[in-house]
């Protein structure tokens, strides 16, 4: 089995769909679109099994040379190791489920083939990203997923808003990519290669811990990661990216692409370990992001934007984990998050479709009875997101992070407090959303009930969101470490400082309580005393605060004022190219000289004679001047 097949199958299918966009029937498109991902998933599973059985460090396939110039050499090398297997597995499986869902969701879309072409292209690029053995190939996938994200956010191209959102997403992530590119240059400069294993291996010889160079490299890599993963300060694009079709949001902006940053940092963890400053920065970014995004999620009115902010917030948890050195915890949260967030998005999508493309939370409500199946899967998703203790996957993964943010070597009380605050917020916004959608009065008529192709993936994901947590249980609750063991060959185990069971208990209890109290607050706010709460929320100060949070802490405004407006203003000002003025004024000067001289050609004989005399005077004057003066 060739690992190369895994990304190749989606690529080929994307190509097929692109070329055959006019001729292929809807069914053919569905078969190619979903089937290829399914096939890819199947191959992935086979290879994973082979890998697990083989006991090797990694399966590496060299699928051809790419660029070789002056000592720089890269190829299409694909790598399957423990980390890639996890990501590949999640991408293909969740991807397949989302594809199946999308075949139902996008049923009436005229550009059906284009949609699947882009989706498959995305999966291919994402798989390349996580399987790349060298950073250039990773960059290839990295940019490829960016492209697909762009294409899919702007899928409904007729609405300019969608295009703006798409463009914003691309440009903002590109800022991060630029940082990452510079990191690549630096890595090449010092290690002479871009192969990841070689870099990781040699890095410890080249740099001592805390070397400014490696700190820079790590920070720049982090820059790439925050761009792609929508972390502070480049988080602003993700909420807008919700303009795309819901399966896209589920696949790209929840489950897979946005976690590429997590993957990148996990993949290059050795570098981060060498650069403690960068690692702390990662944790700080994660902590701040998760809190800020939590507040923003709390006040959104658009169902998808709530989820988007929640995604930002959850990835903040992962970054926090990475920053604390809890590599496998981050990856674990990625897995569970992929499941429940995909589930939530798709369920939300189903709700939206059911309500005739209504996304405003306040126009929903009372859907519990109307959409029974969705209600239940939504509940599972929400529970997992809010980390309801014991039964949800989200609990185990997030709890691990909360605990490690305090106890790990890179942990800190402040991180821990932020994480706990995040837990409270998560509970609040998740269930605010849930209650708003399913409780209260029916506000919009339900016109369409999702079919099987949409529901079955939801059920599967709901199941996964529940059981996936049991592969990794904390000390206090059974102590299963299947997942971290699996990753051990790639990612070192976290070094825990305060290995105290009592404290861990306290932490867990606290987070559980906070999550539940968050739910309680949400219940009070939405179901129990909506009137009183809303009166309270209508207070002017709070009103402003709500707006502020709702606008994502006005980061957009900040960037607009700092970067976008000056750039646009400068470029508009200079549309005619100031430098050109230099040349046109030169031409004008020539014209002026012409005009002046042309005056002397008056046609008057006396004038011409005067010219001769002037010439004579001038010649003699020059003579006298040169000789005597």
């Amino acid at each position: 089995m060739f690992p190369a097949l895994i990304p190749l199958i989606p690529f080929v299918s994307a190509l097929l769909l692109m070329l055959g966009w006019k001729r292929l029937s809807r069914i053919a498109v569905t078969v190619i679109g979903c089937g290829s991902i399914g096939l890819s998933a199947f191959v992935a599973v086979l290879i994973a099994i082979q890998f697990a059985a083989g006991g090797e460090q990694a399966i590496v396939q060299h699928a051809g040379n790419w660029v070789e110039a002056g000592g720089f050499k890269t190829g299409f090398d694909l790598r399957m190791d423990a980390l890639s297997v996890v990501f590949v597995g999640v991408i293909t499986i969740v991807g397949f489920l989302i594809h199946v869902y999308a075949s139902g969701y996008m049923h009436e879309e005229p550009d059906y083939a284009r949609f699947f072409a882009c989706m498959n292209l995305f999966v291919g690029a994402m798989l390349t990203l996580v399987m790349a053995d060298n950073l250039l190939l990773l960059y290839f996938g990295w940019e490829g997923v960016g492209l697909c994200s762009y294409l899919l956010i702007g899928f409904w191209y007729k609405d300019p808003a969608n295009n703006y959102a798409a463009r914003k997403a691309f440009i903002v992530t590109r800022v991060g990519d630029t940082a990452m590119a510079i990191a690549l240059f630096m890595l090449f400069q010092f290690t002479g290669t871009l192969r990841i294993p070689e870099i990781l291996q040699s890095s410890t010889h080249i740099w001592s811990k805390g070397d400014p160079v490696i700190t820079w490299i790590a920070l720049l890599l982090l820059g790439g990661a925050v761009g792609k993963s929508a972390q502070l300060p480049l988080q602003t694009w993700l909420p807008d990216a919700m303009a795309g079709p819901t399966p896209v949001s589920a696949l790209i902006h929840a489950a897979t692409m946005v976690t590429a940053g997590v993957y990148l940092i996990a993949r290059t963890h050795t570098l981060f370990e060498l650069a403690p400053d960068a690692q702390i920065t990662t944790a700080v970014i994660g902590a701040i992001t998760l809190v800020l995004a939590g507040f923003s999620a709390l006040v959104q009115t658009d169902i998808k934007r709530v989820l988007a902010y929640s995604t930002v917030s959850q990835i903040g948890y992962m970054f926090l984990a990475l920053g604390c050195g809890a590599w496998s915890a981050a990856v674990f949260h990625f897995v569970t998050h992929a499941f429940f967030k995909a589930l939530l998005f798709m369920a939300a999508g189903a709700v939206i479709v059911a309500l005739h493309h209504e996304q405003d939370l306040f126009k929903m409500g009372g859907l519990k009875k109307q959409l029974k199946g969705i209600y239940w899967v939504f509940l599972v998703g929400c529970a997992s997101l809010a980390a309801i203790p014991f039964v949800t996957a989200g609990f185990y993964s997030k709890d691990q992070i909360i605990w490690l943010s305090l106890s790990a070597a890179g942990g800190h009380t402040a991180f821990w407090l932020a994480a706990l605050l995040g837990a409270l917020l998560t509970g609040m916004y998740t269930f605010r959303l849930f209650f708003l959608v399913f409780y209260g009065d029916l506000k919009t008529h339900v016109h369409h009930r999702p079919g099987n192709s949409m529901m079955i993936p939801l059920y599967i994901l709901a199941l996964l969101s529940t059981i996936a947590g049991f592969i990794e249980l904390p000390h206090t609750l059974g102590h299963v470490t299947l997942f971290s063991n699996w990753l051990l060959p790639v990612l070192p185990a976290v070094s825990v400082l305060h290995d105290s069971v009592a404290m861990e208990w306290t932490s867990q209890a606290l987070s559980a309580v906070l999550a539940l109290s968050g739910i309680g607050v949400a219940y009070a706010w939405v179901v129990w005393r909506p009137k009183g709460m809303s009166d309270f929320l209508e207070m002017p100060a709070l009103l402003w605060l709500r707006g502020f949070w709702s606008r994502g802490w006005d980061f957009d405004k900040l960037y607009n004022i700092l970067l976008v407006y000056p750039f646009v203003y400068l470029s508009r000002m200079n549309k005619k190219d100031l430098i050109d003025k230099l040349y046109t004024s030169l031409a004008a000067l020539m014209q002026w000289c012409h005009n002046v001289l042309a005056r002397t050609q008056s046609g008057l004989l006396r004038w011409y004679i005067l010219g001769v005399v002037l010439g004579a005077v001038a010649i003699l004057s020059v003579l006298i001047w040169r000789i005597y003066i």
Partner: protein, 102 residues
Amino acid sequence: MNVHPTTAGMLLAGVLFVLGLISILVRRDIIFMLLSVEVMLNAAGLAFVVASSHWGTADGQVMFIFILAMAAAEVSVGLALILQLYHQLKTLDSDEAAKMNG
């Protein structure tokens, strides 16, 4: 006062030359201009003869004769041209002969 004869002659020629030049510059009547040129040519001829006397060679005087010939030819063609111009413009004003410019 010991005046250098050559210098003195040259100065005289120079003065006459410049007087002719002034005339040609300030006059608008074409015949006057022609006249002034003759003055200048004559001054140049004088300069040649003065130089000739300085060196005691005949070259300068031969040149003077040629200048005379040239002046004659000049005047004859010039007058013919002026006649034509007069027929055309009804005036001898040189400023009228400024149809071409720019």
